[in-house]
Amino acid sequence: MATDLLARYLPVALFAIFALLFPVGTFLATRFIRRDNPTPLKDLTYECGEVPEGEAMIQFHFQYYVFAIIFVVFDVAAIFLLLWALSFDATRATQVGFAAIVLFVAIMFAATNYALKKEEVLYI
């Protein structure tokens, strides 16, 4: 099993190298075909034909930060659920175990609702 695991991931490692080389190689290859003629006006940041005012790399009031936090929490919770689901055995399922999962999902559900409610308050 152990050697099999790495044998299974050898194509993945090689493929990852290929996948990295594919865009890099394409970008390099275009260098020989295309003709670059940069001008200061062309290299200006695109702002619909106007001279850009101010910079984009500023403190940006991004209103979806809460979603990012919930996302991380949910990601971890979903991994727990995945482990549970992978080892789910219908023949050995007990009512206590089932109740535990229902409780877990209910807590997740309630927590999301609370967070989203809070988010609506914090929003803007």
Binding site: E47, G49, E50, P52, E53, G54, F60, Q63
Partner: protein
């Protein structure tokens, strides 16, 4: 938190033409907006001062390429007022017919632009497909598809072909069926309702205060249609009720324009029924003195031409009042507090035509 100004335009997919909407955003919420126009200014009012009255019709045709007849029509009305003449009845009916055809074509162009604004490119192709029919009709009667140069001071350029009425009725019947498809494409889509209902609200008070006219004003519940209030040409003879919606949001503006297309179909059919025989044009005088103005219900709102003559064969001063010029500066009111993505849903529903706005 840092607020930043974003330029939307002049080279931006949202601006159908050359203008710039500067938006101040805080994150994704719009704090303020400021239209910046003039990229297409061609000095119409100055140019018109050195051309004869009749020749300016060609110029006014090019004010807005999607509704050229309504513009030259308004100019001709103002000049007729100045010269104290009136078009003969048949000419008046022909003007009504071409005006309404042009209005449908213009609204279809708006619909075609509104779809891609919301990410629905299919609507563009469908609406342009239907617009072709009306361009064909206009070509049949005027000979051109885009800058028809059809109205004249004192009437219209030529009579309509004998079989025009037949084709017209056929196409309108076909169009009525197609319009149902369009409504299904837009209104039955939950996403379209999510994007437009409650977005870009403007109250009737504010709309009137900012000089908003046309379908945008009627979407706020004001029953104000110049075809009814200040009737010109053959409109007093026709039976119709202006279209009104009450919400004042993007969906209401959409709804008003869709209903107006149906109304225009009705008007064309009525005008075809009642069109009298006779001359279609009188000869206008070459010179004129005094001042006069006329306003018409353009497809985008209240269009006004104010013409001053000083006894020469050229106008001394011409003033063009474009509805979009006023409407667009009411957009910041509609935008404040909405999301960045709503800009397109709002600006698209206002129906901007840069040519007539920048003169």
């Amino acid at each position: 938190m840092a607020e930043m100004w974003i330029n939307m335009g002049p080279q931006h997919p949202m601006t159908h033409g050359l203008w710039n909407l500067r938006i101040k955003v805080d994150g994704e919420t719009i704090v303020d907006a400021e239209p910046e126009i003039g990229y297409l200014h061609r000095g119409y009012e100055k140019i018109m001062e050195v051309r004869e009255f009749q020749k300016n019709v060609v110029l006014t045709d090019r004010l807005c390429y999607v509704s050229s007849i309504t513009w030259s029509h308004c100019y001709c009305l103002a000049c007729e007022e100045l010269m104290d003449i009136e078009a003969p009845p048949r000419g008046q009916y022909l003007r009504v017919i071409t005006n309404e055809l042009q209005r449908i074509a213009s609204h279809l162009m708006w619909l075609a632009a509104y779809g891609p604004d919301l990410g629905l490119l299919t609507a563009l192709l469908w609406a342009l497909r239907e617009r072709e029919l009306f361009l064909d009709l206009l070509q049949l009667i005027t000979g051109a598809r885009m800058n028809q140069n059809f109205p004249r001071i004192g009437g219209v350029r030529n009579d309509m072909p004998s079989d025009f009425g037949k084709y017209c009725r056929k196409i309108i019947a076909h169009f009525r069926k197609k319009l149902e498809e369009h409504e299904a494409l837009f209104e039955q889509s939950k996403i379209f309702q999510m994007r437009t209902i409650g977005v870009g609200k403007i109250s009737r008070q504010e709309a009137v205060d900012f000089g908003v006219t046309g379908p945008n004003l009627r979407a706020t519940g004001a029953n104000l249609d110049l075809r009814k209030l200040d009737p010109y040409d053959a409109y007093p003879d026709l039976n119709f009720e202006p279209i009104v919606a009450y919400e004042g949001d993007s969906y209401a503006r959409y709804k008003v324009r869709m209903e107006e297309m149906k109304l225009s179909c009705d008007l064309i059919e009525q005008a075809l029924d009642r069109i009298p025989d006779g001359p279609y044009r009188v000869k206008p005088p070459r010179r004129a003195e005094g001042e006069a103005f006329r306003r018409t219900e353009d497809s985008r709102g209240e269009a006004l031409f104010y013409v001053i003559g000083d006894g020469d064969d050229r106008p001394y001063r011409v003033k063009i009042r474009s509805p979009v010029f006023s409407n667009i500066f009411a957009a910041p009111i509609m935008m404040r507090g909405n999301k960045l993505a709503d800009v397109v849903a709002i600006m698209g529903s206002i129906d901007v035509c840069v040519g007539e706005m920048d003169k």
